[in-house]
Amino acid sequence: EPVTLNVVDVAGNLALTQDAIEAFRAKNPNLVSRITFTKAPAPELPGKIRAMQAAGRTEIDLVLTGTDALAAGIALNLWEPLLPAQAAKFPGLMANYLTSAAKMQDLANGQGIMVTYMPAGPLLEYNPDKVKTPPKTPAELLSWCKANPNKLIYARPANSGPGRTFLMGLPYLLGDKDPKDPMAGWDKTWAYLKELNSCIEYYPTGTGAVMKELGEGSRDMTVTVTGWDINPRALGVVPKQFRVATFNGFTWINDAHYMVMPKGLPAARQAVVLELMAFLLKPEQQALTYDAGYFYPGPAVKNVPLSSAPQKSQDVIKEFGRAEYADWIAKQPHAQPLEDKAMVAAFKKWDQEIGSGKAK
């Protein structure tokens, strides 16, 4: 008997996968009668699922999430374990993932399946009219910033993907003791950020505000990630001719979206959800995730070239994408983002030592 599936997206993932999910329904009318899509901010979702599970009535079948809610759910024990229990449903899963992406699957702790992937950053985006030679190292960035006070901007890491990617990428660039331990191992990073603080006017609380100021010409440079580079230019928030630069020898801090299934679903629904998950990992569906460069590149599995994406998607990426990315992704090392607890601690420390200093 076909079921209704409730899909909740807390990562903005539906922009990449909604068509694929609809396709699944169209192909499997005997399994699924209807799929509802809900979009919600990530932090509140675990609370909602907790409430459902406490009442014994789980009504969410599939959650599309980033690393944040994924980790929260793992900590709160909300997710149904998928691997290895259901490994049979996902033959050759790990082998199938892009090499650079495969490690991101580890973060799921067997409770989620990665569906899309973005190497992310840290990258520098700048206005080529104002910045003739972009910095190549953090030190150059600092001296450029000091020479052009208030012209560099980045957002509070807790509220911004590019902000946190920059934060996590610095230890690798500066050669800190332990890039995974923000409290004990990031001495150089914190010192550097404090230095940098002196030439930054303030930290907006969202990447949107950053891009706006950059686009308007109030600022000349910011940190970014692949998606935030391509998509805003495609949307017209940032002028098309703005460029990105990288630091010499930088390490990609990856980002990914996952499919997870809350505990407490009846077996029949679980089966359907697993079917859906497997379906979304197929190359044809993965090709859809190129989208408009929103989570560039998007696909998590191998052998999904841009040419297999829909024409519209190809056009956008041709116009606003950057050829250099493929090269950088291939050549530079990749690292996983901090795990959740460490991330929260890093945010807190940033707030206390960097952000609060800007209080006026």
Binding site: P43, E44, P46, G47, A72, A75, L76, N150, R156, A158, N159, E201, Y202, Y203, P204, T205, G206, A209, K212, E213, E216, G217, S218, V344, F347, W350, D351, Q352, I354, G355, S356, G357, K358, A359, K360
Partner: protein, 295 residues
């Protein structure tokens, strides 16, 4: 029904049963059914910290520098915002209370900001006060001020947004409270020699006190729980790190619901102190009908 009624004792009169008291029952029932249990749950939860003793969360709150500071930050925002809102609302409601051709249009205009929502205000302020916003552009164009305007991403941004939403709120309330006062009273005061200020001071103000206090309390509670605009318009790492952010982070970043409940309880208590003080003040003043005699 007759058979159910006990024989009325003839010797001792009893006040007739006042069914009006039952009118509060549905509201009370609703609160008991849907609020008391969840609230008690949250309260208990706040005494079950992830580690440490029963009061660990509270101790943690007051001993951790940046948590404890949020209380002060919130007060610094909420109190001035409330005072500004209520006093401006009072002054403007007083001036616009008279029936006139434009009174209705004007009061409507003044109430409209209520409907904007924090997001619109935040977006609007970021755009309008932004470095390339209309305000900056006009000032530059008029050669009045060339520097950058810093009215967002700091204390002032949050305060302004609290005023934009909070003022219409207080205004709507106070305007309707003010017009409930019998106009015969200020007129009587005028014949006794009270000028505009004295009429306001001795007639309107005391008669308005119950309403003002209520408007103050509600405005304060609203300002105290400021959250989205503190993030969108403030500097949530610094001066506008309000207590709601602390509670939010505890609950939704650290997923420590116990600590979050404790923070929320502290937040509630802080408001309760102010509100109870204000309500206590109210009971010192006259409360009752605001008509002055016959007719």
């Amino acid at each position: 029904m007759a058979t159910l009624i006990a024989p009325v004792p003839v010797t001792r009169p009893r006040p007739f049963f006042d069914p009006a008291i039952m009118l509060v029952a549905p509201a009370a029932a609703m609160m008991v059914m849907f609020f008391v249990y969840p609230f008690a749950y949250g309260l208990l939860l706040s005494f079950q910290p992830a580690q440490g003793g029963v009061f660990e969360n509270y101790i943690h709150f007051f001993q951790t520098g940046d948590l404890g500071k949020t209380l002060g930050n919130t007060m610094r925002l909420a109190l001035p915002a409330t005072v500004i809102n209520v006093s401006f609302a009072l002054a403007i409601a007083y001036v616009t209370r008279l029936k006139g051709p434009y009174q209705r249009v004007l009061s409507t205009l003044l109430v409209v900001p209520l409907t904007l929502g924090t997001v619109l205000i935040a977006e609007g302020m970021l755009t309008y006060f932004g470095p390339q916003g209309w305000l900056a552009q006009s000032l530059r164009w008029l050669h009045l001020y060339e520097g950058s305007i810093r009215l967002t991403h700091n204390y002032w941004g949050v305060l302004i947004s609290l005023v934009i939403t909070g003022f219409p709120f207080a205004y709507l309330l106070i305007l309707s409270y003010i017009t409930g006062i019998d106009p015969a009273l200020p007129r009587a005061a005028a014949t006794l020699g009270a000028d505009g200020w004295n009429r306001f001071r001795y007639i309107y103000l005391p008669l308005l006190t119950p309403g003002l206090v209520m408007a103050f309390c509600l405005s304060f509670v609203q300002a105290f729980s400021v959250f989205p605009s503190a993030i969108l318009l403030g500097s949530p790492a610094g001066t506008t790190r309000v207590i709601a952010i602390a509670a939010y982070e505890a609950a939704f970043e650290q997923y420590d619901y116990s600590l979050a409940s404790a923070v929320a309880m502290v937040m509630g208590m802080a408001q309760l102190v102010i509100v109870v003080a204000a309500l206590g003040l109210r009971s010192l003043f006259y409360r009752g009908p605001v008509a002055g005699g016959k007719g």
